[in-house]
């Protein structure tokens, strides 16, 4: 099936099998490998991206469901090589170790701060509970989001 979508400002059109997941489409057909796959039950959040401004686990959608969608992935967060303030805060606060969950974590944090610019610790923890991290114990991720909230 033909499917077209705009990803990080660039228009794409592909012919894809109906069973192809959006995350596979991004990774395999567009080479956008910053979006990761960590599970097969939509639990881990490593594949979190923005579809029409809303965070979505891109393993839960078929590519063909996204006809005409506006998509933003981690590759679209930095501007001209300059890290987005959320990315900058993750670096400042050591909010990442192996980096595998990081793209999804950054996207979920973006959504939270877009909706709630001054979240409490509890609200931050609740907002990223669908993103698993095995390295950091979440301590510095929460610190990073708190730090980003002061910058945005």
């Amino acid at each position: 099936m033909k499917v077209s979508m705009t990803v990080n400002g660039t228009a794409y059109e592909h012919d894809v099998e109906p069973r192809v997941l959006l995350v596979q489409h991004l990774r395999d057909n567009m080479g956008l490998t910053g979006t990761h796959v960590g599970c097969d039950t939509s639990s881990c959040g490593a594949c979190t991206i923005l579809v029409n401004g809303e965070t979505v686990k891109s393993c839960t959608l078929l590519a063909v469901q996204c006809e005409g969608a506006e998509i933003k992935t981690i590759e679209g967060m930095a501007t001209n090589g300059e890290l987005h303030p959320i990315q900058e805060s993750f670096r400042e606060k050591h909010g990442l170790q192996c980096g595998f969950c990081t793209p999804g974590m950054v996207m979920s944090s973006w959504q939270l701060l877009d909706r709630n610019p001054k979240p409490s610790e509890h609200e931050i923890r609740h907002a990223i509970e669908g993103n698993f991290c095995r390295c950091t114990g979440y301590h510095n991720i929460v610190k990073a989001v708190q730090d980003a909230a002061t910058k945005l």
């Binding site: 990761h36 981690i74 050591h94 192996c98 301590h139």
Partner: protein, 789 residues
């Protein structure tokens, strides 16, 4: 030393990860690449009656389908066990084979029976489901203690009573005597449950065989590419080692599970030659649950003997340790040498005896998971100690202080010789405990607990103090204990003509931040900038033969190899500088990036010397050009980090849910290069241990089905389960390595599990609950409270 060591330098590797530009194994692709899917057994124990691949093979887009017979006929064996642990009576350890694809019998759910390779992943998945396997299902055995009983299902025909080895350490007679004369005996029986590592990146491989030079290349998710190359080349596929290049690019977490050389990666490498095209395989999460080596799974009876004054006089344990269905690379050393040797804990216990039976079961193989043997030991000792203190009515902190080994620095005072083989290098256990008591404001905490209880709330305070052995390991020592490898590490330093530096290290970074920490050491030592140093790791064709990253060894072992190479650069640099300055090398000292003539203003910079080494026009006679050194470092002892943790919990009376209110930690890992990174390691380690205490555990039914083989069903700690951690440290340098460093990657996990369980038991004091099995789920806690009522 300059001004970079000891600073929380921001990580140099972060940019690529933050921008989604990290390159993990599954991010790589090759021209003409094919896709592999393994067909796996749905049964835990079954005879393979037939494997019919004809329908799968006939499907459009399918390139090849291999069965166990194909691999057996090719003379390929599976991965191996790298550590021999023999029976007490001297009999050799049982060592059943682990075929890449089963050919006669499957022994755990997930055991591979066929390998399907197709033009695209979808076709490979379809074809895998078209492979028809006929199984004759057999009774399965899951419980390690039941596995040794006569009449239990036999996992391997050549392993009677499923027993791989039995093993003991310590002095049995003295320990028996201690218990005979004991004033008080504390007893615990528990299952230190099987846990699943769950690195967020699943394992993956991209394999290629180039017939032009008979050379294999394997991109894979490995913590130790050189070890993978050695095992695959020398033991599994029998190919010349120089004809295999293993690349471990960015790796999305390991926690032990990516130490091992798995059959799956070997299988696709072999297949890439058979089909003459690259083969890509990436595990899905279910496969990860069914094939990544699990951890722990000890069934233990433990006892602690006390005299009338509350002194610990003896400790005795009997453990049945499951190794799973097959022996993974280091499976045998985890419940023995990495577990029994830590049973001294931080205490002066004069008699210790540890008895371990290693058994096979119809479950996923068991090997190292963060801590590997040491969390099992600290859980045992710290649960016993806290329970004993409670039983005799002594404050658990006071009880520990009474029984601690007194401080020793390993320089003025000798290292501490334990009853269980190890000699601790340096320690100040009371220092760490006193600091954590102060940081927690323990006296006030106790008042809060009393107030909470009088308000009808269930608040508990739990302690855990630990010492562990890491910085793995002195080769001769581990060799005498059965290791079939050396455990040194290696580092090369190449100073470029302009004074910039590239280092090539054997340790692999998969979250630990080596690219920053190692660069800090080099930049600091040479007085150059962080930007002037690149750290390369993870490619056997580039880096020297190092043993990789596990056992909290990177800084203590590979860091020491880096220091040796730094010294070599400085020594040669001094000779070149002396020539330029027309003095003797002994007249020079290196500081602030230059060699200075002592007592004068004359100096020559690091960059000048580097340039001279590569443009050797005016140069010392008999000196080789260049400034490029490799070093290997084999430690003389393990390193022994220690610490004291306090966990404060509140239990919801209505639901049994345990909430961690505060978690206060003081760790001592010797000297610290980057405090930010060290704290990050502590946070992650604590969370992993809390996971085992409260949430995690592989659930098997009697038929050997893993009931929670998904991230939906297996509870990994989430952000909303965790508190902020209050971390701090003391510093007791390691006396036997050049940086004075110990290790910190596993410490948090080793410490936290018993701290949490002790806190929950403290909270349940009024209910008279003495012990509960992990994980302490709301259901278990609530049920225990109802029963007590």
């Amino acid at each position: 030393m300059g001004d970079l060591i000891g600073k929380s330098v921001k990580r140099v590797e972060d940019n690529r990860f933050l921008k989604g530009e990290g390159k993990y194994t599954d991010d790589f692709n090759m021209q003409h690449q094919t896709f592999a899917v393994y067909v796996r057994s749905p049964h835990a124990h079954a005879n393979l009656v037939s494997v019919d691949i004809s329908a799968a093979k006939a499907m459009a887009g399918v390139i090849s389908v291999f069965t166990g017979k194909d691999i057996k006929d090719a003379g390929i064996v599976g991965s191996i066990c790298g550590w021999q642990v023999d029976f007490k009576n001297g009999d050799t350890m049982k060592e059943p084979g682990h075929p890449i694809l089963a050919f006669d019998k499957v022994r755990h759910v997930g055991d591979a029976v066929a390998l399907v390779i197709a033009e695209d992943l979808g076709t490979a998945v379809d074809a895998a489901s078209a492979v028809e396997v006929n199984y004759e299902v057999l009774d399965a055995i899951v419980d390690p203690k039941a596995a040794v009983q006569d009449g239990a299902p036999q996992v391997h025909d050549d392993v009677p009573n499923n027993t791989i080895f039995d093993w003991e350490l310590g002095n049995k007679e003295e320990t028996d005597a201690a218990f005979e004369n004991a004033h008080h005996i504390t007893e615990l029986s528990y299952h230190n449950q099987k846990i699943v590592p769950n690195a967020i990146e699943p394992r993956a491989a991209l394999a290629h065989f180039d017939s032009n030079d008979d050379k294999y290349t394997l991109y894979t998710t490995s913590q130790n590419p050189h070890l993978a190359r050695l095992i695959i080349a020398a033991f599994v596929l029998s190919i010349p080692e120089h004809k295999l290049r293993v690349i471990a690019p960015d790796v999305g977490g390991g926690f032990g599970s990516k130490i091992f050389t798995y059959n799956d990666e070997c299988g696709v490498l072999w297949a890439s030659k058979q089909i003459g095209r690259p083969v890509k395989w990436t595990a899905d999460r279910t496969e990860a649950f069914l094939t990544d080596c699990h951890g722990r799974d000890h069934v233990t009876d433990a006892k602690l003997a006390l005299d009338a004054e509350g002194n610990i006089t003896g400790l005795r344990t009997k453990t049945y340790a499951s190794l799973g269905a097959y022996l993974s690379n280091f499976s045998t050393c985890i419940p023995t040498w990495l577990h029994g040797t830590l049973m001294q804990g931080l205490y002066t216990t004069p008699a210790v005896h540890v008895d371990v039976t290693g058994v096979v079961t119809n479950t996923v193989p068991v090997d190292a998971v963060r801590g590997a043997g040491r969390p099992e030991a600290s859980f045992c000792v710290e649960r016993l100690v806290e329970t004993a203190a409670r039983e005799i009515g002594m404050d658990p902190a006071e009880f520990r202080l009474k029984n601690f080994i007194p401080p020793f620095d390993g320089v003025e005072q000798e290292g501490y010789q334990t009853q269980v083989a190890l000699q601790y290098d340096s320690g100040n256990y009371e220092g760490a405990l006193k600091k954590v008591l102060k940081n927690a404001n323990y006296e006030k905490l106790k008042e809060e607990r009393a107030a909470a209880r009088s308000d009808g709330k269930l608040m508990g305070i739990g302690f855990s103090t630990y010492v562990e052995a890491c910085g793995i390991a002195p080769s001769a020592v581990v060799g005498s204990l059965g290791a079939r490898v050396g455990l040194y590490d290696a580092a090369s330093i190449r100073v470029h003509p302009t004074g910039k530096v590239t280092i090539f290290v054997g340790a692999h970074s998969h979250g630990q931040g080596h690219e920053t920490t190692f660069a800090q050491i080099v930049a600091d030592s040479f007085g150059i900038g962080m930007d002037d140093v690149d750290v390369l790791h993870g490619d056997t064709e580039k880096v020297p033969f190092g043993m990789g990253t596990y056992g909290s060894r990177s800084l203590a072992v590979c860091g020491s190899a880096i220091m040796k190479s730094i010294d070599k650069v400085k020594e040669k640099g001094a000779r070149i500088a002396a020539h330029k300055l027309e003095c003797n090398p002994e007249d020079l000292e290196f500081a602030n990036g230059s060699w200075n003539v002592k007592g004068t203003e004359k100096s020559v910079g690091f960059g000048d010397v580097a340039l001279t080494a590569y443009v050797p026009h005016d140069y010392p006679v008999n000196e080789e050009p260049g400034l490029d050194f490799a070093s290997f470092y084999d430690p003389t002892n393990f390193v022994y980090p220690f610490g004291a943790h306090i966990c404060v919990v509140e239990i919801d009376k209505d639901t049994g849910e345990v909430n961690i209110v505060r978690y206060i930690a003081v760790d001592d890992a010797g000297n610290i290069i980057n405090p930010m990174i060290v704290e990050g390691q502590v946070h992650g380690g604590i969370a992993h241990g809390i996971g085992q205490a409260l949430y995690e555990g592989a659930l098997y039914d009697d038929s050997g089905q893993l009931l929670n083989a998904s991230m939906l069903d297996y509870c990994i700690p989430r952000a909303d389960n965790m508190p902020f951690f209050e971390t701090d440290h003391t510093i007791t340098p390691c006396p036997h390595n050049p940086l004075g460093v110990k290790g910190i990657g596993e410490a948090g996990t080793i410490a936290s599990t018993p701290a949490v369980v002790n806190a929950v038991m403290d909270a349940l004091t009024d209910y008279g609950v003495k012990d509960l099995q992990m994980p302490l789920t709301p259901q278990r806690v609530w049920a225990a409270m109802q029963q007590a009522k």
